[in-house]
């Protein structure tokens, strides 16, 4: 049997109502698209329902009992998220998703005055394996400020090519932004090591932890990051909420991002002053019920244990890599050693387009993603336009991987590939 799995997986799966629904033809759901979005346990849904049915009110501003309950629930969620990444509570900013968090970082660095400001002659370094959400904000920033965008290339086995790190990270570097875990290749990057180099030249390190936070224990104090982003819907929480964590000294120096609502200290028609962190970065009514859901989500993950979840992911990933290796004509894009990677596995099958692979799998109830997974440059690097991606999570079973491998065999025969 497969070692390292979460105990009582069958019982745990019952926490997720959607996993017991059936699809067209009465087929059971085999959900292998968790890197795209994760499924939600009942406790998250219930926390949101309880909030909406019993405690709904706006936060901060309301002095009545419902307002106090709602504010307490909202701020308790901030405490839970802070504990989840080992940060002080006021360094945790709620955004709408990881993309907004990364754009917040890029825009405030463009608007900053003084040493933080990114301007002409400065350089921003990213990597070729970034999700579009960690590419486009930096393209916009460098276009708008006259700074230069540079990037790490990739090796043939899907690692960052660090051979030219000394040419890339220089005195001109103001920001290094990179993903912790690739959503396409699965690669886990040596973030702390790169951060050390970046800090030597005085650059700010922005880490996209969208795929790391669901799978790995994240401790911001040892991560090397100055700013770190992740998204609620991938950590068994709801959509509509993301997190930007930042070091207090840095956040305090950055100018506000969006204006309005509760981000102010005082407003006059001529000018305004701004609230302290984290509120300075939270304009308007925040995602209240979403925060309540996210709080329940990270509690759920912490209760299972991020180490145990990581071990489970590694076990399933190893099992999947083994199974995929048996499918003729299948090539995995990215590292082949499960201990070195996350749980998203993108692959190609000779002679069948990823759309068609996904379609055949879907007819068997198996949900995977086909396309460029918002990582077009990484696909281009490997000479492909798109790929099929399976991605597991804490509820994935070896039997589901078996179903995938069988489904891929069937796909080949459906398209008459001998």
């Amino acid at each position: 049997m497969v070692g390292g799995l979460l105990p009582e997986l069958g019982v745990l799966r019952k926490d997720f109502p959607i996993l017991s629904r059936t699809l067209a033809g009465g087929l059971p759901l085999v959900y292998l698209d968790s890197a795209n979005t994760s499924q939600k346990p009942q406790c998250v849904i219930d926390a949101m329902v309880d909030h909406l049915e019993r405690h709904n009110a706006n936060v901060a501003r309301a002095m009545h009992q419902l307002g106090a309950e709602s504010s307490e629930a909202f701020e308790a969620a901030r405490d839970k998220v802070a504990a989840f990444i080992n940060a002080p509570r006021d360094e945790v900013i709620f955004t709408k998703n990881a993309s907004e968090a990364l754009n917040l970082a890029a825009n405030t660095l463009a608007w900053a005055r003084g040493p933080l400001q990114v301007g002409e002659g400065d350089e921003v370094v990213i990597t070729e394996m970034e999700h579009h959400s960690n590419i486009v904000p930096w393209q916009l920033l460098t276009q708008r400020t006259g700074a230069t965008l540079r990037w790490f290339g990739l090796t043939d086995d899907g690692q960052l090519d660090l051979t030219n790190i000394d040419e890339l990270i220089t005195e001109r570097t103001k920001v290094v932004a990179l993903t912790w875990v690739s959503n396409m290749l699965g690669t886990i990057n040596p973030v702390a090591e790169i951060a050390r180099r970046a800090h030597e030249v005085g650059a700010i390190v922005v880490v996209d932890a969208s795929q790391a936070a669901p799978q790995l224990p994240v401790d911001v104090t040892t991560s090397g990051a100055d700013l770190l982003a992740f998204t609620g819907h991938k950590v068994v929480g709801p959509t509509g909420i993301g997190v930007l964590w930042g070091k207090r000294e840095l956040l305090e120096q950055l100018p506000p991002f969006l204006g309005g609502g509760e981000m102010i200290a005082t407003v006059e028609m001529e000018r305004s002053t701004y609230a302290g962190i984290p509120h300075k970065f939270e304009a308007g009514t925040p995602p209240i019920v979403e925060a309540v859901g996210l709080g329940a989500a990270v509690d759920y993950l912490s209760h299972i244990g991020m180490d145990a979840i990581h071990a489970h992911e590694q076990a399933i990933t190893a099992y999947a890599l083994e199974g995929l290796a048996t499918v003729p004509g299948l090539t995995v894009l990215g590292p082949l050693d499960a201990t070195q990677r996350g749980g998203a596995i993108s692959f190609e099958i000779d002679g069948v387009h990823p759309h068609d692979v996904a379609q055949v799998l879907d007819s068997r109830g198996i949900a995977v993603r086909a396309g460029h997974h918002c990582a077009k440059p990484a696909h281009k690097r490997f000479g492909v336009q798109s790929s099929t991606r399976m991605s597991s999570y804490l509820y994935t079973t070896p039997a589901e991987i078996d179903a995938l491998v069988d489904g891929l065999e069937y796909t080949r025969s459906y398209f008459k590939l001998g």
């Binding site: 033809g25 990823p354 068609d356 379609q359 007819s363 798109s386 459906y414």
Partner: protein, 156 residues
């Protein structure tokens, strides 16, 4: 279990996929366009050559799934040699079929091999695949017509 799949992957479609017609870019054209399906990256470069109100040639280079490839092949088969307005009517007909969610019976007299795509209309995620080349063709044709009428204006 695979009945549904067979509605989508009609023999005609798989044939066009394996042996696409009119593929490859040719030199005579008035407009070239490049379209992508942003969600999956499938892409097509398509050229149109219009002479005297006729679709003289449509040539293309494309990368994509079976549905998008077969659809480009069927498109060229249908419209090459047609008067432009008739080709536009076919385009309209195909578009309506694709957006029907499977509620419309396709007309073989108009769409010929294109009727095989009736099943695609039941798969909303694949409709964009089937339409990629058709949208590119319409765009390119419109560009030529527009620049022609501009030329006339300036000639006047």
């Amino acid at each position: 279990m695979s009945t549904d799949l067979d509605t989508l992957y009609q023999e005609i479609i798989l044939d066009h996929y394996k042996n696409p017609h009119n593929k490859g870019l040719r030199d005579e054209f008035e407009a070239e366009v490049h379209h992508v399906n942003p969600t999956c990256g499938d892409e097509i470069t398509l050229r149109v050559h219009l002479v005297d109100g006729q679709v003289k040639d449509v040539s293309y280079d494309a990368r994509g799934c079976s549905i998008s490839q077969a659809s480009a092949s069927v498109l060229t088969e249908l419209v090459i040699g047609m008067p432009i307005d008739e080709a536009m009517a076919i385009h309209e007909n195909f578009l309506t079929l694709m957006q029907s969610k499977g509620t419309i019976e396709p007309d073989e007299d108009v769409l010929e091999d294109g009727i095989a795509f009736a099943g695609v209309a039941k798969f909303p995620a694949r409709v964009k695949c089937a339409l990629l080349s058709w949208m590119a063709w319409k765009d390119a044709t419109a560009q030529v017509l527009e620049s022609n009428s501009l030329e006339k204006e300036t000639a006047r």
